[in-house]
């Protein structure tokens, strides 16, 4: 479904990605784990078109992706950005409606909205509230719901558990599994490697802009070197 080949991205004089190749197949949850600054967010930003690669290619369903995020949305890429970035000046309902900005299929939009409300009952309760008044966890759910409203097939998630209380982290990962059941494919970037590896099918380990290891999530999770580097403080967050 998604194929990234030899991707190089530089900005501000830093070579953030130095030849990254990954594949994502339909119906998978793929996770990218790695330390802070390894280039995880850069990879997602390059896929959705926010950052321009200096070299390499990204194809989605066989066609190259555009270098303009709004065009990639139309192709089916939906990106839940790091830090959630909900439109805090608008209501929850408006945020969700903007997710469907490019869509004209009113009936499907209405049924997708119902589905988002089923997935996030808290968001439904607060639909007329200004998004800026939501808690961090609620904002994360709104950001996910808003992305789902684009009806994209590939969901890019950037640190969805960042800054959330442990109980909410658990909820967020449950929701990611439910999103998979809606028929979506998920590319998940996480610092919480423990949790990410638990729900993922396959994993890539990113270090200083390079993929250093890849394989089934279970294998990566049991790899001694990985355990030492990324899973050291075992199961604080839920395992």
């Amino acid at each position: 479904m998604l194929s990234v080949r030899d991707l190089h991205v530089s900005y501000g004089g830093i070579r953030a990605l130095r030849g990254v190749s990954i594949d994502v197949h339909k119906g998978e949850i793929i996770t990218i784990i790695g330390a802070n600054g390894a280039g995880k967010s850069t990879l997602l930003n390059a896929i959705s078109g926010i950052l321009k690669p200096s070299q390499g290619e990204i194809t989605f369903n066989g066609a190259p992706l555009k270098r303009e995020p709004s065009k990639n949305v139309k192709l089916g890429i939906c990106h839940v950005p790091e830090g959630r970035l909900v439109f805090a000046n608008l209501t929850v309902k408006d945020n969700l409606a903007l997710g469907a900005y490019l869509r004209t299929d009113r009936k499907k939009i209405a049924s997708d909205l119902e589905r988002v409300y089923e997935l996030f009952p808290r968001i439904k309760e607060r639909s007329s509230q200004i998004a800026g008044t939501l808690s961090g966890g609620e904002q994360q759910m709104l950001a996910m719901g808003r992305a789902l409203m684009t009806d994209g097939d590939l969901v890019l998630m950037d640190e969805p558990s960042l800054g959330l209380a442990p109980i909410l982290v658990h909820t967020v990962f449950q929701i990611i599994k439910e999103i998979l059941r809606l028929g979506k494919t998920i590319l998940l970037v996480e610092q919480n490697a423990n949790m990410a590896l638990k729900i993922a099918d396959r994993a890539y380990v990113l270090e200083q802009g390079l993929i250093v290891k890849t394989g089934p999530a279970a294998d990566i999770a049991s790899d001694p070197a990985i355990r030492a580097a990324y899973l050291g403080s075992k199961s604080v967050a839920g395992g």
Binding site: G49, L98, Y101, A147
Partner: protein
């Protein structure tokens, strides 16, 4: 009491036209985070477009408004393409935008001086002479027109921003451009619309201003007052710009009426400076956090 009410009415009238100009500054700032100092020059061009529509083309005044609005919308959009888009493509910081805006403004003003000339021009008489009397309060016909036309335009703008899909997209983009592109919102389109709207309102404001006073190349400098209003209300905030403009209009007329017209601009700038010291984001301005 009658005198106070009279000043109040005058203040609302001048405040409403400040508002029409101020929202242009605010709209652009809300999306692009810089003060478009070429906006005053676009207002001035609007005044000339209205003037020549009536004198050369012989259009009725209402058509002159429409012609000026369309003309300045086009000018504003072209200005954006020629002056600001190259900067956007290079990801220039806001300082370059401000300098470019000032350069564009100087160019346009002097272009008009060099071609049309500096002599002020009078609009043909549109409204009957003599004020309309409400008891002891006299209301100039042009003042009434300024208030009514501005109010209609501003109401239309608010409805557009708050109740249409594109309006919501503009609000989303003003809050966070990156997140809005991830929703599929085309930033170039939003910027195009914002300049077109700001430009059209500038044209209407220019014609109104020219009708009340005169048409001359330095109108743009005078409209700097509306920039004060936008800053006072909070740059980037539409309600802020409206509130700031009305407050400024009222303060100006009250100062003129009760103190002296000589103090008018002094007080206006005093308000600006005080606001910048006490609360730089203005009454309703978005703070830096919002733009992170």
């Amino acid at each position: 009491m009658a005198q106070f009410l009279q000043q109040l009415v005058n203040g609302l009238s001048i405040g409403s036209i400040y508002a029409l100009m101020a929202v242009g500054y605010s709209l652009v700032y809300s999306i692009m985070n810089f003060s478009n100092f070429a906006h005053g020059s676009v207002i001035m061009l609007g005044a000339y477009l209205g003037y020549y529509s009536m004198t050369l083309l012989g259009l009725p005044f209402w058509l002159a408004f429409i012609a000026a609005a369309l003309g300045t919308a086009l000018i504003a959009v072209v200005l954006e393409r020629l002056a600001y888009k190259p900067l956007r493509d290079r990801k220039a910081t806001f300082l370059y935008f401000i300098i470019t805006a000032m350069g564009a403004s100087i160019f346009i003003d002097n272009f008009v001086i060099a071609t049309i000339g500096p002599t002020p021009k009078m609009f043909p008489a549109v409204f009957a002479q003599g004020p309309i009397l409400f008891g002891k309060i006299a209301l100039g016909r042009i003042d009434l027109a300024m208030f009514v036309i501005s109010a209609i335009c501003l109401a239309a703008l608010i409805i557009f921003i708050d109740y249409t899909k594109m309006g919501k997209a503009i609000q989303a983009t003003s809050f966070n451009m990156k997140a809005s592109t991830l929703m599929g919102i085309n930033t170039n389109m939003v910027i195009f619309i914002v300049f077109a709207i700001g430009g059209a309102l500038a044209g209407i404001a220019g014609v109104l201003y020219g009708m009340k006073y005169q048409v001359f190349p330095q109108i743009g400098g005078i409209t700097l007052k509306s920039f004060i209003a936008a800053v006072f209300g909070g740059l980037g905030s539409l309600p802020g710009a409206l509130l700031g403009a009305l407050v400024l209009g009222l303060v100006e007329t009250l100062v003129s009426g009760y103190l002296s017209t000589q103090y008018r601009d002094l007080i206006a700038f005093l308000i600006l400076i005080t606001m910048l010291i006490v609360r730089p984001s203005g009454i309703m301005g978005k703070n830096a956090e919002d733009k992170a």
